[in-house]
Amino acid sequence: MISWLVQPSGWVWLVPALPLLAVVVNAGRVLLGRCDGDGAEPLTARLASLAALAGLALLLVIDGLALANGAPGHFRLAHWFGSGNWEASFSFMLDPLSLTLSTLIALIGWLVIRFSSNYLHREAGFHRFFIVLTFFQAGIQLVLLAGNGLLAFVGWEMCGISSFLLIAYGWHRPLATGHALFAFMTNRAGDAGFLLALGLAATWLGGFEWTALARASQISVVDDRLLVIGFVIAALAKSAQLPFTAWITKALEGPTPSSAVFYGAVMVHAGVYLMLRLEPLLVQVPDVMFGLVVVGTLTAIYAWLCGLVQTDVKSALVFATVFQVSLMFVAIGLGWTTLALVHLCLHAAWRLWHFLLAPSWLAVTRQRPDPPPAWLRCNQLLYTIALQRLWLDKLSETLFTLPTLSFARDLRALEEQFIDPAIGQPGLGRAVHDDRSLVTADGWPGHALASLSELLQRIEYRLLLRGRGGTAEKLMHRAGAYLQTLENLLEQPRYLMMAVMATFVVIL
């Protein structure tokens, strides 16, 4: 217990925790109204930058020790919750894979925060941007450093939410919010896969630890395959591989640095990392690996074709990014995980620069890129497909959005036509009787209550209020007289004694 305290690697939880702390402080300042005016900007930016820099420094120390003494590997920090035969814990994984990536991403994160503090100067959403960007840093570090799937999933979701919030950075533009929602919803499909896999892991393997997942060979191949497919769906959605690619092309509405860090350098690689992390699991199901090769190849062709026709820099870059990420999936599918990791790191470093310099495109290029080969160049249908990006967003709209909307409309109609009138709504009541305007009711429960109150009122009226001499009064008078007599009798000593003795008998 004490040993991890003196080890720097024991403090690794600070890497995601510090940005979270910065988020809390900055959000608190915004909530308390301390972020008005230009003067509040430097503090916000500095807190974010400091959190990122401290994380980077800590990681570098851990890296140094790891280089000297070997990577600490998986270790458990604390119990989180559990039930029966499964347990979730706060555990971290510090192996070469996560340390390499985590350090690189921390450096990128710090640089982008520094970049943004100038770039977003005096923007209305300055503080919001930094809060979300820092929140994202916490999330992505959690994904990278987590020792188990559940903790990684928490980070995974943090990334998804911050991505959503930054696409909708210009929330007053309906287009931006619409695209943000689209990206968010598509990513939920990936989350479903992640959750499925986690649920299965808890059931079959008794935990979410990456180390436990690596032992999945104990379960049947069929079960194993199902488990892996869940993770693969999550990875494909997050890394915008087919058929999920449409979301990333719509995600370019945010400020340039957020486009750079989310869709150029960092978040788009999260799926690749997940696959690399699950390599021991993957190798047991070659057919899924083959599937990765197929999906990766198709995505590569798709992204390459679409990239050729793009006329704006950010779209061109995002297709180039998807293209190279899909090559990483192909590499993983072929089992070349080291190559994929190296490619990932180099690509992240280059693409960040590429995206951040997107506004310089007029200055850094002089001529049009070479046209594709003639057979492709003259194909009108392929051109249309590339320009329409294979209609992916339209298809998702036709296949998912519109049916959902229609369903929602039907539900609303059902509610309005039947359920609301049946249940009734406050404020819409109408008088039940024309002569009693104060009693109003709407819906079945309302009418039932009104009837009940009427009944009670009738009873009250009949029994109590009908003046003296009513049956109820007589009956009550008589009952009152009986009770009076009984009380008088009980107050006499003999009966009192009898009562005391009876009590003793009962007790004994």
């Binding site: 704006d312 061109a316 180039a320 997107a358 310089s360 290029t365 890129p369 594709p372 249309t384």
Partner: protein
């Protein structure tokens, strides 16, 4: 379609395109950003009327919101007297009349401006009534009671329908009408793909793969793709593909056919096309620009007719579909009238949804009903039921609004409760009528006039105050000719403070030499002159003789470096195999570079520059200035170099125009300017406007070289302009972003001049550093109260910083122009807000010199001021909003994100501190001469008479100032001539970050 019918239509179409060019943004591809009046198409109308017309058509804000002006009133930037004078200037009649007993019209209007006529929405009013003292507000209750009796009848649905319907072809398209009625924007369904097609067709070098049919024009290219597009089926528009495939081949036939389907009345066609274009102003404007400037493209045929045909086809097809769904069956546009005539309740509900007075509960019910109606037929009873709840509310609305306004007015007028209570209904209505006499546009104009007047009074007062102190160095140690640019006002002032013996001049920054310039490393020549001029001479920069080997090595190495850079940037996004490989190669250097540039931008910039110079090699260069043979030069076939006679003529004309004809100092510095910053698509907007958004250094260098030539000096002497041998011209370029100076050809300066040059170099460097310190005060991220050195280092950092969205502030806060001798303003702190143009009124009896100066600088200054004006008052519509989401498109413009209209105008970062005003031009010349020039020059007359700029004359002999009013003639100015006095500029601006009033700077030679 027979040929006879086609001919007149073609002619009409040509006219239409001419008109469209007036209405659509005229911005060139962003590489060649040049400031121009955003509303150049309305310039033939008086300012106020033009803005009203533009407002009706475009719907943008034309003035600052009143709340902002009111804040200025509160902070003292507008005075009560300014507002009163503005109302008089506006030409409001009978200001002294008393519409209500005891209260003048002037007082009522002033109160109405100060209190505002804005009325909170119904929901807010109700809330105020419930939650605040409003219910107990006696005046409000009083007026509510008074006006309750005077409820106007609600407009009848039929009349309202006719009003909306009449907008078609004027300010609305069918799409707008249907969107208003149904809440569904049909353009949204195709906007994204249409934009992609447009960008693909106009692309200047981003896409590798173009539409295979693009050579046949946009219409054909679009049709080829749209005919194969599966989106129509997905959108449940299956007939659209058939219709597209069966369209006639000629876009003209298509246009004609579809327009007659949309509008039977041919006279409305132009108006309709105009509205259609204004739905996507950025894209339409760029398409038209390329149509008008075939040379500005890449050879792809771009015809506006194609674009119009596509827009009209889509408009017709998509409105048809929406109409079918609205009417529950096939319905034509002409049947829409009958449809709503038969269903007035439905129209009432659809219309009411857009009214501010509609309470929230009814609003949500109406919105829901509309949504249902879009998907399924809705029974008439539902409309009727809702309409019955809405109708009674309409009537009460007007009374509540008026009562609100009147209550505010009575407070603004300072009426006591007794006086308020004494007002009867008739008087209350008279008061209300008088207060609402000014339209919102007129109110905006009144505020603008007041705002302008306040600053103008300060300037006039400053000019009068400086008059007795006028002084210029008798025997100047150097004469520095700078650009007229408002930014150089600061440089000049600091130079004069630091070196009181230096005389400065200002002129349009191409220094009278319009040329095509080809630097040693340039592959093609660039025009360096105002946009309106097309140069006929080419000047090239060449390596010194004897350095041929070095030159060749330089060219090879530079080319290789650029090719590598290009291939890395391009291949990593485009290549299948080379992409990942080059990514791997470039990744580590990129990571190192971004760490360095983000942490130490100035250091990194300097290191990169040094490395580049070491790698490429530095070549000493000279100018190929003098023409070897004189040819009939034309812009297409420019003459190489200038002949002696041409050089003499240029030099003489320029020196005479700035009034530098005698008393030459040992050194005359021609000082061009440009701006260097990184990661900035709007780079050209920061450069020299007189050089079409390019750097003016080469012009300065050419001018100095010409003026130093013995042949030229002899020629000048023959014309009576004697430049002594003891005078040497030198040239330099000022980087307005980092306040650095690049000197030209200093190694050729004879040793005799060396000490003087050294002194001037040091003085100018010091002046630029002091100027940098002054600039820091408006930049929030700059150090407070920096030393000049700190300031300069900060500016270097800004210039090299890829994350800096405000490398400098450009022309922001520009407000006035002085044309005259420097003496009229030397010693004034003008806060970098004034264009300074040198002109000597004493040597220009017939006004010819002034005429030329006004012709070249008037439109440039007005263009800059008005572009800043409109980009500030409505940055969403006239500007291009914040830079941070900008995305370069097709190398010709920027979009916001990856799916928006093309954004034109200035980014918000450039205008955020701007104070929108028209340019005030003060000319040091008599009014009679100015009038004569205006008579002669219709272009100037248009600007001045239509009040796009404000003209004032300062007498060359006395301190008298007169302002020109097109309605009332020359108005003599009188006012106080007192001014705060400080020793140096620094004492006035140190620690201040807000705009500063003029001050008298004693150190400035006064």
């Amino acid at each position: 379609m027979s040929a006879e019918h086609e001919l007149p239509l073609r002619k009409r179409l040509a006219h239409w395109l001419d008109h469209l060019a007036h209405v659509l943004p005229g911005q060139a591809p962003i590489r060649d950003f040049v400031h121009h009046n955003t509303l150049h198409g309305f310039q033939h109308q008086p300012f106020g009327e033009a803005l009203s017309a533009a407002r009706a058509l475009i719907g943008a804000n034309m003035y600052w919101p009143e709340a902002k002006f009111r804040a200025c009133l509160a902070s003292g930037r507008i005075g009560d007297d300014d507002l009163a004078a503005a109302l008089a200037d506006l030409g409001v009649a009978d200001l002294d009349a008393q519409p209500v007993r005891g209260v003048t019209r002037l007082a009522i209007l002033l109160a109405s401006l100060k209190v505002g006529m804005e009325v909170p929405e119904a929901a807010r009013q109700n809330w105020l009534r419930r939650e605040t003292a409003l219910a107990g507000d006696a005046a409000f209750s009083h007026f509510t009671r008074l006006l309750a009796a005077d409820r106007g009848l609600p407009p009848v649905a039929g009349a309202r329908w006719a009003e909306l319907r009449a907008r078609i072809g004027k300010t609305w398209t069918w799409r707008s009408l249907l969107e208003y009625l149904s809440g569904e924007d049909v353009l949204e369904r195709v906007r994204t793909i249409l934009q992609r097609h447009l960008a693909a067709h106009l692309d200047l070098g981003l896409a590798a793969w173009r539409n295979p049919a693009q050579e046949q024009g946009f219409f054909a290219a679009w049709r080829a793709s749209a005919g194969l597009d599966l989106v129509w089926e997905m959108d449940e528009l299956p007939n659209v593909r058939d219709e597209i495939l069966h369209l006639p081949d000629s876009p003209l036939d298509v246009l004609l056919e579809e327009l007659s389907l949309l509008l039977p009345d041919q006279s409305q066609w132009y108006g309709y096309l105009q509205c259609l274009c204004l739905e996507l102003p950025g894209w339409s404007g760029m398409f038209l620009w390329r149509d008008r400037h075939p040379g500005g493209g890449d050879g792809t045929p771009v015809a506006m007719l194609d674009y119009l045909a596509v827009r009209v086809v889509l408009e017709r097809l998509l409105t048809d579909d929406l109409l079918r769904r609205l009417g529950g069956g096939p319905m034509s546009l002409s049947e829409l009238d009958e449809h709503f005539a038969a269903r007035p309740e439905e129209f009432l509900v659809r219309d009411a949804l857009h009214q501010a007075w509609l309470p929230e509960s009814l609003h949500s019910r109406a919105a829901h009903l509309l949504e249902r109606a879009r998907n399924e037929p809705v029974e008439t009873d539902a409309w009727r039921h809702l309409a019955a709840s809405i109708a009674p509310l309409m009537a009460g609305e007007q009374a509540a609004m008026s009562a609100w306004q009147l209550a505010g007015l009575s407070r603004g007028l300072g009426l006591t409760w007794a006086e308020t209570a004494a007002l009867n209904q008739e008087e209350a209505l008279a008061l209300h009528d008088c207060a609402s006499e000014l339209s919102p546009m007129q109110r905006g104009q009144a505020w603008l006039l007041a705002y302008e007047r306040h600053y103008r009074e300060q300037l006039f007062s400053a000019l009068t105050a400086i008059h007795p102190h006028q002084s210029t160095p008798v025997a100047p140690s150097a004469q520095v000719v700078m650009c007229m640019d408002d930014r150089e006002e600061g440089t000049r002032r600091h130079l004069e403070e630091i070196a009181p013996t230096v005389a400065t001049y200002g002129a349009a920054g191409f220094f009278g030499v319009p040329i095509y310039w080809q630097g040693l490393d340039d592959s093609v020549p660039t025009a360096l002159c105002p946009v309106a001029v097309r140069p006929t001479h080419l000047v090239r920069e060449q390596g010194e003789p004897g350095t041929e080997i070095l030159q060749a090595r330089h060219a090879v190495r530079r080319e290789r470096r650029l090719r590598w850079r290009e291939s890395i940037y391009q291949a990593t996004r485009r290549r299948f195999v080379a992409g990942p490989l080059l990514t791997a190669v470039a990744a580590l250097p990129a990571l190192a570079a971004q760490t360095a540039v983000i942490l130490a931008p100035a250091w990194f910039g300097a290191r990169m520059r040094a490395w580049r110079e070491r790698h490429d090699g530095v070549i000493a260069t000279r100018l190929a200035l003098t023409a070897e043979e004189v040819v009939a030069a034309s812009p297409e076939q420019p003459q190489h170099g200038l002949s002696d006679a041409e050089q003499i003529e240029r030099v003489e004309a320029f020196l005479r125009s700035i009034g530098l004809c005698s008393n030459f100092a040992p050194l005359v510095l021609i000082f061009g300017h440009g701006s260097v910053s990184r990661n900035n698509p709007h780079l050209a907007a920061y450069d020299c406007g007189a050089c079409s958004g390019k750097h003016g250094g080469p012009n300065a260098r050419v001018f100095a070289a010409m003026a130093n030539r013995a042949a030229v000096r002899d020629g000048l002497a023959a014309r009576g302009l004697l430049i002594p041998a003891s005078c040497r011209f030198i040239a330099a370029e000022h980087n307005t972003c980092d306040d650095g100076i690049a000197w030209y050809d200093l190694e050729t300066v004879p040793p005799d001049f060396q000490p003087a040059v050294d002194t001037l170099v040091a003085q100018l460097a010091e002046a630029c550093r002091a100027h940098a310190a002054e600039r820091c005060r408006r930049l929030l991220s700059a150090p407070r109260r920096p030393t000049p050195w700190q300031a300069r280092r900060h500016m270097q950092g800004r210039a090299g910083d890829i994350s800096q969205a405000r490398p400098e502030l450009g022309h922001a806060t520009n407000a006035a122009a002085f044309v005259g001798r420097r003496g009229m303003s030397r010693g004034l702190f003008l806060d970098r807000r004034v264009f300074l143009i040198s002109y000597d009124p004493t040597s220009d009896d017939d006004g010819r010199l002034l005429e030329d100066i006004l012709l070249s600088t008037g439109p440039v200054g007005a263009g800059i001021a008005l572009e800043y004006y409109f980009s500030s008052v409505d940055n969403e519509r006239f500007g291009c909003a914040s830079k941070i989401t900008h995305n370069i498109t097709g190398l010709f413009g920027v979009m916001e994100g990856a799916d928006s209209d093309l954004r034109t105008g200035l980014p918000w970062q450039m205008v955020e501190i701007h104070e929108p005003m028209r340019l005030l031009m003060v000319v040091e010349q008599s009014t009679a001469l100015l009038m004569a020039i205006l008579e002669r020059q219709p272009a100037l007359r248009e600007l001045v008479d239509n009040e796009w700029i404000v003209l004032a004359s300062k007498s060359p002999l006395s301190a008298a100032i007169e302002r020109y009013c097109p309605r009332r003639g020359w108005l003599p100015w009188s006012g106080p001539a007192v001014l705060p006095t400080v020793a140096r500029s620094h004492d006035w601006f140190a620690g201040e970050s807000a705009p500063l009033a003029p001050a008298l700077v004693l150190g400035g030679g006064a």
